[in-house]
Amino acid sequence: MLKRKMIKNFGWPLKTAMRETEVTRLYPEVMMELPENERGIHELDATTCIGCASCARVCPNSCIEMVHFKFGNPLKNKKMQFPQIDFGRCMFCGLCVDECPVECLKMGKKVVMAGWERKDIVKSPDFLSTKRFTAKEVADLEAEAKRVAAEKAAAAAAKKAAAAKEGPAKEGAAKKPAKEGAAAANGPAKKAAAAAKPKEGGAA
């Protein structure tokens, strides 16, 4: 009785060997199939990123840094700041993806990120971006951004002029457009703002 039971149990390896079960992964020759929801390397849609740095703020390991990148949308992302991720510290928790207000950051199925040096696994927006504008599109958008900034500045100037006309009591209101002009001066529309400034002065 004892022997029969034991022999039955020793039959297990044979039974398992008969079944075709994949036990060893053939990586890197064959990549295992990853699900749609896989949290792998981030994918950045540079055309929609607004550079709000929400991802950088929510990151528990503070591995996201906002850096300059050329091929984004200057209309939405005035300072052209995009996330750069240090995968040496990233733990793929996905909080940055959840936090993104415009859903431009996703996590994809790509998982290979090995490098020889520590700086090799700090991935710039150039590596992360799956969607981006070409240089020509960026130039067009920059022109558009300049135009919009100029329009804004003109509108502000007109408002200021109107406020000046209304009388000296509105000194507080007059200060506001000046501030807006200063804020615009920081962005890529610097020239536009600079061009608008003399106009503003002239109108006033």
Binding site: L2, K8, N9, G94
Partner: protein, 570 residues
Amino acid sequence: MTNASEVLSSIQSAFPGAVLDSRVESDRRLWATIDSKKILDVCKHLTTKLNFDHYSGSAGVDWIARKEMEVVEIMASHGAHQVVAMLKVKTPRENPSVKSLTGLYWNANWYEREIWEMFGINFEGHPELYPLLLSDELMGAWPWRKDYKGYPDLTTGERAVKISTPEGYTEYHIPPTPAEVEAGTVVTVRLKYPTLREREEKEIKSDSEMIMHLGPQHAMVPGPFLLDVLVEGERVHKAFLDLGYIHKGIEKIMENRSWLQGITYTDRMCYVASLSNNECYCGAIEKILGLEVPLRAQYIRVILEELSRIQSHLIGTGEFLTLIAGVGYAPWQYMIIDRENIISLIESVTGARLTHTFVRFGGVRNDLPAGFADQCKKVLPYMKSRTEEFIELFAQDPIYHKRMDGVGIIRPDDAKRMGVSGPPLRAAGVAYDMRKEDPILVYPELDFKVVTGTKGDSADRIDVRLREMLESIHIIEQCLDRIPEGPIKTEVKVPKKVPAGEAYYRVEDPRGEMGMYVISDGGDKPYRVKVRGPFYATFQTLTPLLEGTYIADAVAIAGSMDGCPSEADR
């Protein structure tokens, strides 16, 4: 059935003036501030008159603004009723001292030692106030106090000074810089207490006895801890445990992270049970916020937690078998192959294999993907048949039973007294399961039974785990049939700042009762998070269990507990 307000009135009538402040949160939660002089009497009254036979742990809180410290004793019952009494004892911040409960509850020992080393609260009458988690260098720094300045920077090897010990070993010592001494990040006055080694050597009574190290690096459990056994021949006379080798200070880190970021740290306490840790933390905060979780999200959580329980039990059982040398075959690999199916199922929802960070305040991160139910319907019947085969395999193997029967027996009353939880407790025959005792999510609507054993030995613990897997499969099947359509996150916007309040939330971890005590002071970070881990409680019982056994059984007993030192150390 007793409820919280009855308990409160009973204490108030028995000890007039002992309750300084109280709050009945619900039928199951009682918060009371007890006069520190009467805490022992109140606890005795609770245990003898009101069936509070489960001392579930204690937490220290440093209220620096109020210039006082608090020790919160968590009291519950093993099935007589479902009230959890949170009894607070206050003590001034200068020279804090409270009465020790070790005389009443055996398992209060470790909880109080932890509070002592972290907060510097003295426990009057505690038999062995020695460090548990911290290293000797940090003793006296009281790192979990709110005014702690931070750890000294010991990351640079250049500062290390070489010392040759009299035994001929080379040790490295990192002397503090004057700046660190001035900032108060290093301890300058050392506390006096016998080291672990001195305590061990004191127990050696004769020449035939010796001390044997099992660990910190040992195949016994996945994680480092030191188990020293005092042996005479093959017999273990006494066992000593030293943990803290992977103490990460997660509770303190969480105080410095935002509420949302805290979820990622709960994953890393125990990676095979990360979903129930997520659930515990998020559930506590949902309780403070008063958030309602949509029904679909509740079902998703239950499905994933049960899947996680299956994979945890598979790894626990499989690893145990490698420890007792496989008994002629190696089922460990079969269990790992099967576990891969479950892990793939979880990964298809959460996107990560082990550290899921999946549960959110008032919902979950992702919805179930298309085809998840079909995939489950393929995997679960297979898992069911496999588990039944495993149970049969274990039940009929004569070698296994000769090896395991009667090894490491815990009797039901001992198990209750020692505060064991989870499968080791249920194997002893005590049907104590948080899913029934403190039901959360949709568990009350689901049909499942609490699996119990009869003998309480190592074989029984494994058997309970395997049969629990069948129950989990049954739960998931029900959930898949009933899961409704709908949102997966609450529509209420979760605020960045959680209003001031406190909550204690319990879930049934694969290893037992997991509780989190979360305090908010209205800020964007937790004021205090206390994790009452299941393995911490089970771990403590290892030393008395090992006394009188053989050395070979020490591994079998410790392995059958399905240990996770990472969660015990936090």
